[in-house]
Symmetry: C2
Subunit: 345 residues, 2 copies
Amino acid sequence: MTRPPLQDPHRTLTLRDVSEASGVSEMTVSRVLRNRGDVSETTRERVLDAARRLGYVPNKIAGALASQRVNLVGVVIPSLSNMVFPEVMTGISETLEDTGLQPVVGVSNYQAEREEQVIYEMLSWRPSGLIVAGLEHSEAAQAMLAQAGIPIVEIMDIDGTPIDSAVGISHRRAGRKMAEAIVAAGYRRIAFLGTHMPTNDHRAQKRLEGFEEALAKAGLAVADREYYSGGSALAKGREMTETLLRRSPDVDFLYYSNDMIGAGGLLWCLEQGLDVPGKIGLAGFNGVELLEGLPRRLATMDACRLETGRTAAEIIAGKRASGVIGGEIVEFEPKLEPGDTIRKA
Amino acid sequence: MTRPPLQDPHRTLTLRDVSEASGVSEMTVSRVLRNRGDVSETTRERVLDAARRLGYVPNKIAGALASQRVNLVGVVIPSLSNMVFPEVMTGISETLEDTGLQPVVGVSNYQAEREEQVIYEMLSWRPSGLIVAGLEHSEAAQAMLAQAGIPIVEIMDIDGTPIDSAVGISHRRAGRKMAEAIVAAGYRRIAFLGTHMPTNDHRAQKRLEGFEEALAKAGLAVADREYYSGGSALAKGREMTETLLRRSPDVDFLYYSNDMIGAGGLLWCLEQGLDVPGKIGLAGFNGVELLEGLPRRLATMDACRLETGRTAAEIIAGKRASGVIGGEIVEFEPKLEPGDTIRKA
DNA sequence: CTGAAAGCGCTAACAG
DNA sequence: CTGTTAGCGCTTTCAG
């Protein structure tokens, strides 16, 4: 007759278990495991040994509650699948690596309501800081962020009023700058191709506003426009380009709201044997790596994603050389990369 | 003369604050906020009102410690920047959405040691489950996972022995299947182009093994090979293809370890005016969306990423129709998508 | 250098 | 339907 085990065989180990196994007080075990305070080499060894032998994994939940300290940094972005946010994440991870801080990602799918939930969820874990894409949030979200009592960094846009700190480029300015380059190169019948605007992509929206503003200054307006949503961006870029060019064959420039649809458009134009950039010019936005492998180099504008991620993380980690403590605004200058799809002026 | 505030103006709110503001006991406030147990409509309103007014955000750390329940699911993947893991994430997020569980991502950069750290870190938050890419882990990592006492799902590979559950395709089989299709189509001098193998990408390795095995069965061997690492995959695909074809001009098939370099190779071949798939065939791996926009459709093999993510999440969430509780192994069948770059047999 | 006591903010388990 | 009492597993603080 076998007896049932006296203890749940799978309760997870606690400090106490390590303490008993090593014959050292819980407190000292805790000190060893966190490298805090002085502990004699002998006890240290004994403790580490016991911990390893048992396979002890500390419970950060209890630790965080007791110490009121959480080594997590929340990152809230609209999407993971479009190549631009992963690069921001890379910058963030890099800088956080040697700070003991850990990024935790939440995705909002470009929905304000979803973003609000994600922010709420993250704040409820009391992170050391929060990085949020964009400056537009629901009222409730803004209130939560402002109340949170931790560093908040809004990234990838600085056209607006940040809650605390902000890092990124001015998309209005990026749009303006691109328009000026296009006009300077002598193009006059300029079309815009982008995502369906209801998508809540405020940055694309601002880019277009800046773009139109600069065109207006040159006495021009967007000659035609075409929107898409969903599907393979490269394929969509082709389709949109064909549709638009059939409708407005006299257009001499195509401004795409992102590089992926721009690349699709470029491939299509080249296949049609169109004279790029002679008869027709093209430009995208973002400076994605992909462009390097295309038959011709699409003009684009770098959004400084890596630097943005790095800087945001530095602000949270308190590593800014500036010594500024909060409410810092860092603007990067979007660089025009003319490539081979804009005529030389 | 103004008096200083009696309390830290920025300590974060607690249940007690809501309790006092609403005149309801902490316990009942807690119940309202979690929708647990019966509470009269009147008190409920009163509590919610106070909570909203104060801007109270519950402290999940304390909640988790008290309830021994954490609504987090750890996801450990090698990289975010290559298009394939984001899609797995999409599958995971989708299914987790209505379960109250939240994914937390950790990135290992294809380094076993880094992976071990990330797993340790995640386990220390006592998540409800863990999803880890691949079956190969450091010994320490394996031990931790086995000990964790939570559902562990290893994804994207089933060639090996899982710790608990596993979901994905057999890469060996995928490689074999592709080789068989290539041989059946009449190609004989077959080259392989892939990432530098030290990169620790076990799945690519297994694909190649299966590939060579099937070739051997047909009395063939890989005729030449070329490796790359880093940089724009599309651009690298071009370069590698050029290098390899200059060295071995008589090769009649190019098997790429991923679609991105395959796409680069395809673009290069088309530019050179090579007869694809007549004189030379090409194939990649992964079935990425990008391929849809290319001038010709690259042959590839779908890795069932979305389904894999979904299924892994279902297992963690306990939503499997099968009713199986743990140690479940789900194998998907990698589908060959012949596209336009393999001769019809 | 080491240990004992007192919580961190919440929820489980009871009692009304 | 509502309240009370004990902790959850750690770290802070203070004594040795």
